[in-house]
Symmetry: C2
Subunit: 446 residues, 2 copies
Amino acid sequence: MSDRYIDFANSDLGRRLVGAIGLPSPARLERWQAGRLRPVEGALLLGGGGLANKVASFASRLTDTAYGAADLPSWTAGLGPKLKAVVFDASEIVDGTQLARLREFFQPVIKSLDHNAHMVILGRNPRDLEDPEAHIAQRAVEGFSRSLAKELRNGGTLQLLYVAPDADEQLEGALRFFLSPKSAFVSGQVLSLQASARQVTDWTRPLAGRKALVTGAARGIGASIAETLARDGAEVILLDVPQARHDLQALAARLGGRTIDLDICADDAASQLIAALPEGIDIVVHNAGITRDKTLVNMTPDYWDSVLAVNLLAPQRLTQALFDSGTLRDDGRVVLLSSTSGIAGNRGQSNYAASKAGLIGLAEAFAARLATRGATINAVAPGFIETGMTAQMPFALREAGRRMSSLGQGGQPQDVAEAVAWLAQPGSGAVNGQVLRVCGQSILGA
Amino acid sequence: MSDRYIDFANSDLGRRLVGAIGLPSPARLERWQAGRLRPVEGALLLGGGGLANKVASFASRLTDTAYGAADLPSWTAGLGPKLKAVVFDASEIVDGTQLARLREFFQPVIKSLDHNAHMVILGRNPRDLEDPEAHIAQRAVEGFSRSLAKELRNGGTLQLLYVAPDADEQLEGALRFFLSPKSAFVSGQVLSLQASARQVTDWTRPLAGRKALVTGAARGIGASIAETLARDGAEVILLDVPQARHDLQALAARLGGRTIDLDICADDAASQLIAALPEGIDIVVHNAGITRDKTLVNMTPDYWDSVLAVNLLAPQRLTQALFDSGTLRDDGRVVLLSSTSGIAGNRGQSNYAASKAGLIGLAEAFAARLATRGATINAVAPGFIETGMTAQMPFALREAGRRMSSLGQGGQPQDVAEAVAWLAQPGSGAVNGQVLRVCGQSILGA
């Protein structure tokens, strides 16, 4: 699963060669290490409108060194310290001339970014705004934000978060993810934070006391999700097909969890699963998935049906059953593993892309119903992730997948797991019915 | 503005070389020729649900040779004639198991496509559906549709059109565009048709009797838009800056229109324009735009302000003024020239992308208000188009822009103009507040 080009490009010789002949120069990305306490290890700068003050009220829990708009002249003069994190509140930009504030704020800031700096622009969802001028201006912020994300170097990331007027209290949980290495492979994304009953969260073990089910947990991304949920305090229940029992039990032993051997496509899968979870479940991660790639011309009925059955119909039926039976507890969290193929489509994957697009539909369609019990359902859409599966791709295709993104590399299973673990937190009720890409701002899109 | 690689790849020698060493093989795209009568010159196959019957009721106006679902066994047996157009109604797919109908229908069809075949899948907007299972299934159709579009060869295209329950009457106008060479460079797109008062349309001169204003009309895409609107029967009024007067007048003389010399950023631009249009205007195409590319680090205030002023603030102010003054007539059509950069963002174009994203916001924000008078406002987002501007790009960047799309080539200004001309039709009221990409299914996306 290693991308040796990153090692090369970051070696002494490699750096010179890469610079001289214009090769891609992917950065080494920092990841979250178990036991780390602060989301931001370095300087945080806050600017823009009044939401920056809200962030300032909890900034001391994010970092030791926070700066506000009054300090901006230091960076304008080129004298500010290197920045590890930046938050700019653009939500008060209500007409097109005020967009210049984005240029004014970010220009000096960009010059002072530390490596692996994480930035967030706060805005309002244009479609929620009555005033057409404000709608237009906020829509323009997205174009700015996606462009600037593409200009960042050294592992820098930038997201745009829409904050509903009554969702200020939801900011800390979101910024703990988006300003920290937990979101190392997320960039150029747009996500909405809605009002939600705030849950008291122990930020060092945000999943403490929560029971989490992970399907397809024996290997790869599923195993990484299980590890990350366990790291964050969850009691994990690992599910996979009976053939994977050996790997699954070894992982469960290591993580102190238990296992369920189950074919999620079996006719009685739902009743079996409910029976296996007599105490209920707080977190359900539908990670199990298969690929059977063929262009449609060569697609067999079996290839079509099996991919749809495992990837879409099983999560749909199980989610419905877990909810209807009350097995999914109040304030539950359901996370679906979609894919950038489900967003953009992919040659040779009409079955897979249909199933992964359907999962986005599942999150959209079930969100309101789950919200009646304080629960949420969201999709995570990985782009190119370094796994055993991608290691077997032909060289040219694998290299294209790795490099055709703003971060110029594939992600690690942990990157997907961190996004899942964040959405699984009790404090993540602000996000519901949405899809979060973990793709390094892959250029692939719809 | 020519792409000589297409000529090479379609030559005798080129075809053999391209096949042998795996180079891209972009097809020669057919375009609409003035004087052509039928949207489809060849066989049309209709299948799927009940909307196919609706299409059958006017199919004889689309083509001489239409086939229905009863004829499908001919293609399944490999005996059907080559198909130039295909419409499949997927709107009755209401659960995931029914998605297999897509595979069953399209598999034999794909094998029998003529060159430059145009296909449309009809569906329902998932977000309009009450039933979660139907929502999920319809969302899955998008993943299928975008994937299949990426598998087509020989200039084939495929779109997904969401048809609101009471929008059946809007189908003919949309299919006349999407099944004909007018949409040669549009593929993999999703668009919604809403109910709308149907306007009687003379399909041979769909813009007859309509007055159309085109800004930035002296050259390039603007000139092509003016020509295409005139071809379709509109009386054209060409606007550009005073410096472009010579080119503008030559074009107006050729098209039988008149000119307006105006700097759209002037303080009194709106009142000057209203005064210049005493009889009102039916169609307004905001095409004028500039680029001033720099990464944000090097972006000057002037580069920022001028791009925002020309590309976004001027169209916003003029649209508002034309509407408020009643100069935009009832059933008017406003079309804004956005860009795939406004959707996906682009390195070195934070100003341009902000302005072009803002135009998408302008369409969204003004749509409901314009609808109160039967008018619409939409954005067209060109991808890589062969113009004087793109001819000056560095070779590698130009080649990447051309090839990184399903059609493997850049579009022509006419392709953008055809999309504008379609949205400008009286019969296009079904589309409002939306953005239509003309990008050959460029892989760039958000």
